[in-house]
């Protein structure tokens, strides 16, 4: 049995920008609105930090889904969002080639008070990963 298959849970990694989405997640907490606990939020300055390989490494390690919660148009780093979008195009292309379901990676913009949008994204991803199960990515790829 592969190490991934032994795990029953479907972990969702959330890359949340420190100026928008991360305080947005805090705002959901302040409202005491529950959401699935299989979500792990990493505070990032700008998701443009992550190279293509980071996403595939996450899938290989057993992360079932990744949500990039960016600032979208409100990005404080002018030009970073464009570079991120371009990188993700390449990531999606490679995911297709590797037969990784595209629903496992999602780019969205979450503002500091976007509680409803945050909950929708998390619940949608949770539904998808429950349906898809953990990713079975060949570690040698």
């Amino acid at each position: 049995m592969s190490p991934q298959a032994e795990k029953e849970d479907n972990k969702i990694l959330i890359l949340a920008t420190e100026t928008c989405a991360y305080p947005g997640a805090d705002s959901v907490g302040q409202a005491h609105s529950p959401y699935p606990a299989n979500t792990y939020i990493l505070r990032v300055r700008a998701p443009v930090l992550f190279p293509e390989s980071f996403y595939f490494d996450c899938f290989k390690k057993g992360i079932s889904g990744i949500i990039i919660m960016s600032c979208g148009e409100e990005c404080p780093y002018d030009g970073a969002y464009k570079a991120l979008a371009k990188r993700l195009d390449a990531v999606y292309k490679k995911m297709k080639e590797m037969a990784i379901d595209l629903r496992r990676l999602r780019l969205t913009a979450i503002c500091t008070v976007c509680n409803r949008a945050f909950l929708k994204e998390v619940n949608d991803m949770d539904k998808s990963v429950r349906e898809l199960g953990p990713p079975l990515v060949n570690p040698s790829l």
Binding site: D26, V28, Q30, Y40, I41, R45, A46, K61, Y77
Partner: protein, 599 residues
């Protein structure tokens, strides 16, 4: 016991039950102790309390730990608190990592999953912490000059207090007049000072101050730069050629103020009957009134019965009050109208005893020193109070009685919901406070705006009058409804913070910028191409240890934004962001997927 290579101390907060009601904090502590890099794991009822911080300080001083992880509320609240504690222990404040187990765990998850997730987030923070290294703040020269946007009482007071610290100030007002809303106020609640006297004194001071430059009739068109080195483009309305003025400044205070709510046509008969007016209009009439008769006169007509309706354009409820065309609803209390209404009612009853007053309110909120007394005074002055519910507001309609052009019908909660009709010859609406629209400036400066459309300070208790953007502050009614005294309090606070920031002539910024590992850098230049900030990253020729010239990337720390666009593209992994390194994230993911701490 075997000596551990890394010595991470983990401190877990109960938050007085906020965390411990849902997360088994002691269980999390036991699991954290089993982590390979953790030497100390402790818990406290309130980690932010002095005894909580003292635990960290003692462990650092005794050498038990060299990295700190605190698991508590959101890092926006106490990251700086704990960095401060580390500094007081004589250590570098950047050996710190935060695990958010309140907003992102105990307030949204319950039971075992909450405990498991808290343990995993701590394991992940520990994985990041072991790569933390001491960092030095970045030194930036700052112009000893501040700019205050908005020349109302908050702006004037801010400018005076900053100038009082020996720092030059430019005060910008878009209208021709300084003084803002106070220009239209009369005797101020609760002590009856005349707004005009206070304004005269402050305007004399501000116009006479040698360190203050005033631009009235001037709009701020554009803002750029960063703390210590902002640049503003100003446009004077009087300039026929529209030549923008450039202003270099070290700090900015937003004091952009508010306006009084304008009722929609037909709201309590407003715009429909000329005898329906707003509270600011009544105040203007009272200011101009020189009559010595015993009955108030408005436009030559004596007022026998005056009805005052509270909460107009404030405390609006979705589904009951119609939103404006742009979809906005003022759900907040405007705070100042109750006292202002009672103040006006007392003035009228005491000056014109033959004018009767009926106050129709939802709740009387005379908060603050000396203000509840106004309510008692109004009762003694025989003002008649009637209470209505939001879903059954008073109805203003035409009256056939030639003596009273209007009548107001109310279901009065104070007389067990009796339906009462009051004939009236004047109806006054207590219109609330709305912020001035500064969306354009706010979006240029990346300033947060609340759902109520007021500007949003970082935290009302921990970091009041500050924006998350270093070097920009706020004061007065642009941040919330407040009276002139409160606006001056905020102004004083903003002035002190701006002065303290600029006093040294330089500023120390967070060191979270890119750093090149010169041993690994091969000079490909991919990072320079990917960099989004011109001037932050350049390819330089340097002499390597063998004495040969080679190309290598160099960072200009004060310019670097710390976004990490460079780190993603380096084939050698030779550039990374201090404090937010790619390597740290990889290890955090490893800790998340490893279920070692989740039972």
């Amino acid at each position: 016991m075997e000596e551990k290579k890394n010595k991470v101390g983990v401190y877990i907060c109960y938050c007085g039950g906020n965390i411990s009601d849902h997360v088994d904090v002691e269980e999390v502590r036991n699991r954290a102790l089993k982590l390979p890099d953790v030497t100390v794991a402790r818990t406290n009822m309130f980690m932010c309390s002095d005894p909580g911080q003292e635990m960290i300080i003692e462990d650092l001083k005794s050498g038990k730990i060299d990295r700190v992880v605190v698991a508590s509320c959101a890092p926006s609240l106490h990251e700086t608190t704990f960095r401060g504690a580390i500094e007081r222990a004589g250590s570098n404040p950047f050996i710190y990592e935060h695990a958010n187990i309140r907003e992102q765990v105990s307030w949204v998850h319950h039971g075992d999953p909450a405990t498991d997730k808290a343990a995993i987030l701590i394991a992940s923070a520990t994985a990041k912490a072991k790569h933390l290294k001491p960092l030095a703040p970045i030194h930036v020269d700052a112009k000893r000059h501040a700019t205050v946007i908005g020349g109302g009482i908050a702006g004037i007071k801010t400018a005076l207090d900053i100038a009082g610290q020996g720092i030059d100030v430019t005060l910008i007002e878009r209208s021709p007049l300084l003084g803002g809303q106070l220009n239209s106020l009369g005797q101020l609640a609760p002590y009856g000072d005349h707004a005009s006297d206070i304004l005269k004194e402050l305007i004399d001071q501000v116009t006479g101050h040698t360190a203050i430059t005033i631009h009235t009739n001037t709009k701020v068109e554009a803002v750029s730069g960063y703390v210590g080195n902002f640049s503003l483009n100003l446009l004077k309305k009087s300039d026929p050629e529209n030549i923008p003025l450039t202003l270099d400044t070290g700090a900015i205070v937003m004091a952009t103020g508010s306006v009084s709510y304008t009722p929609f046509k037909g709201e309590y008969g407003f715009g429909q009957y000329e005898s329906v007016i707003t509270l600011p209009e009544l105040i203007r009439l009272l200011k101009a009134n020189t009559s010595s008769r015993s009955m108030l006169e408005v436009n030559g007509k004596p007022i026998k019965n005056m009805v005052m309706i509270h909460c107009v354009g404030s405390r609006q409820i979705p589904g009951i009050h119609p939103p404006k065309e742009n979809g906005t609803l003022n759900e907040y209390c405007s705070r100042t109208c109750c006292s202002a209404m009672l103040n006006a009612a007392n003035q009228i009853r005491e000056t014109f005893p033959e004018t009767s007053i009926y106050e129709m309110y939802r709740d009387i909120r005379t908060y603050g020193r000396g203000q509840e007394e106004l309510y008692m005074q109004a009762s003694a002055n025989k003002v008649v109070f009637m209470r209505y519910e939001a879903d059954e507001p008073p109805e203003v309609s035409k009256n056939d009685d030639p003596d009273y052009p209007l009548q107001v019908r109310i279901k009065d909660g104070l007389t067990f919901n009796e339906s009462l009709t009051v004939p009236a010859d004047l109806v006054v609406l207590a219109t609330g406070i709305e912020p001035n629209d500064v969306t354009n400036l706010a979006s240029q400066m990346k300033l947060p705006i609340g759902t109520d459309r007021f500007l949003l300070e970082v935290h009302p208790k921990l970091r009041p009058v500050e924006f998350p953007i270093t070097g920009i502050f706020l004061a007065g009614t642009c941040q919330a409804p407040m009276d002139s005294g409160e606006a001056c309090n905020a102004a004083g606070a903003a002035a002190v913070k701006a002065s303290a920031l600029l006093s040294k002539g330089y500023i120390e910024l967070d060191p979270f910028v890119a750093e090149v590992d010169t041993d690994k850098c091969q000079g490909h230049g991919a990072c320079v191409e990917a960099c989004i900030k011109e001037g932050a990253l350049t390819l330089m020729e340097v002499i390597n240890p063998d004495g040969n010239p080679v190309k290598q990337a160099q960072v200009t720390p004060a310019m670097c934004l710390g976004c990490g666009a460079c780190a993603a593209v380096c084939p050698e992994g030779a550039i990374d962001i201090n404090g937010w390194a790619l390597k740290q994230y990889e290890d955090m993911v490893d800790a998340i997927v490893s279920d070692s701490v989740a039972v």
